[in-house]
Symmetry: C2
Subunit: 253 residues, 2 copies
């Protein structure tokens, strides 16, 4: 500070810059919104959580709780989107496993808020909050398509409608499974849920490849990258006794 | 009528009884809500659609648009729940195909309203509308569990947590696929989408059976009911060339 302030700095919080203060308030809001539905969180509580005054919260978020909620949601959406980033190296099912580990960590950390947001029925939800959530889903789909080699960027063809529907459908299934997982007191263990969600993706790719040429070509490119001791190999070994019972469904050899 | 009305019956609609009138107003509301978001439909339009006066609509629905929307939603939820009922006879994948045909018919008929409701972000959505939608999802899950032989009613064991999560996850996937289908101008043909959704359920059952004993036992009971020329047989034949490429993932024979 280069000159004495007109009013003595009564509290330590006066020292923060605008961006730091904003980040601090968002952090406090996220902590509260993570464990309670948005309608149950007041500006007074956010102020108390951040250790600042109510007017200070309003100075940064003149729109009050709704504006704060949308800003906190935007910030959580950015964090979540970062979870999806995974280098396109190694067996694809292992990459997806790592993404799911980070995703489930996020769900675990933001449990009640995650649940309230996706369940709907809160007055804090608007077309703006829906747009934020849809943006996260779109970015998740793009990341998965990237690992399938069909993201449409440099060096990749864009995915056709069936493959795109498959990926978006799987993402909806992951979201639904996460909500059920929260409802069931976070059972089973996250690693078990993760493995099942990877199995789900492998299953969906396999049956979609059965009826869609593009997906068949994607699967043909992915399979040589998989190993017997990775997720795809583990599933392949476990599935043999199940499909052995389906011999009567096959055409005569 | 036993006595002359105080005011002459200016319109034919005076002749309807209370229940019939209510049903007529709900029908008019459903027609409008089917093709537009709830926030875009006014009471005046519902009155015009039903050929009645605005005050008459308010006499039946004093809570105005919100009450009418919730009542119309409840009525649509009943219709949709009826779609799920299917006798437990014949190959299970064929039963599920018939349920999906009726479900996709409902989605087709209520397109924009279905989409607006499930997408969220409308002020007409409340915890009451969420409860109605959740009730439909629960009833869909119960019907699927019935065909899997694990509905928990007379003569059936209740499903364990993994199988229940699997069914609810598939239902979320069906819902997501329906919304994408509406977004894409109802492409592909409903029968093609239906077949893919059945394939999805078969795939999910198969991989879940790989890691969950109860699901393995359900699949073992279902498979003998399936035929080579039904949905499961069609998928089995198409999948052989896909899994043939996965030989390197299997443990040495």
């Amino acid at each position: 500070m280069t000159s004495a302030p007109a009013v003595p700095p009564a509290r330590a919080y006066r020292r923060l810059g605008v961006e730091e203060r904003r980040a601090q308030l968002l952090g406090a809001a996220l902590t509260l919104f993570a464990h309670r539905a948005p309608d149950d969180v007041s500006i007074d509580e956010v102020a108390a959580e951040a250790g600042v005054s109510r007017p200070l919260v309003y100075r940064y978020f003149p729109g009050g709780r709704q504006q704060l909620y949308e800003a906190a949601l935007g910030s959580a959406a950015e964090q979540l989107t970062l979870c999806f980033a995974e280098p396109a190296v190694g067996p694809p099912t292992e990459r997806v496993s790592r993404v799911l580990d980070r995703y489930l960590g996020f769900v675990d950390q933001h449990d009640a808020g995650f649940s309230a947001l996706l369940r709907g029925g809160s007055v804090a939800e608007t077309s703006r909050t829906s747009t934020i959530v849809d943006g996260v889903r779109r970015s998740a789909a793009e990341q998965i398509l990237l690992h399938l080699g069909r993201a449409g960027g440099p060096g990749q063809e864009p995915a056709g409608p069936r493959l795109r529907m498959m990926v978006r459908t799987w993402i909806a299934a992951v979201e639904a499974a996460s909500l059920i997982w929260l409802d069931e007191g976070k059972q089973p263990a996250p690693s078990e849920l993760r493995d099942w969600l990877v199995d789900h993706l492998i299953a969906l790719l396999t049956v979609t490849a059965a009826s869609d040429e593009e997906t068949a070509s994607v699967v043909a490119d992915l399979l040589p990258q998989e190993t017997a001791d990775g997720p795809a190999g583990r599933l392949a070994a476990l599935i043999i006794p199940v499909v052995d019972r389906a011999a009567h469904l096959l055409p005569p050899a």
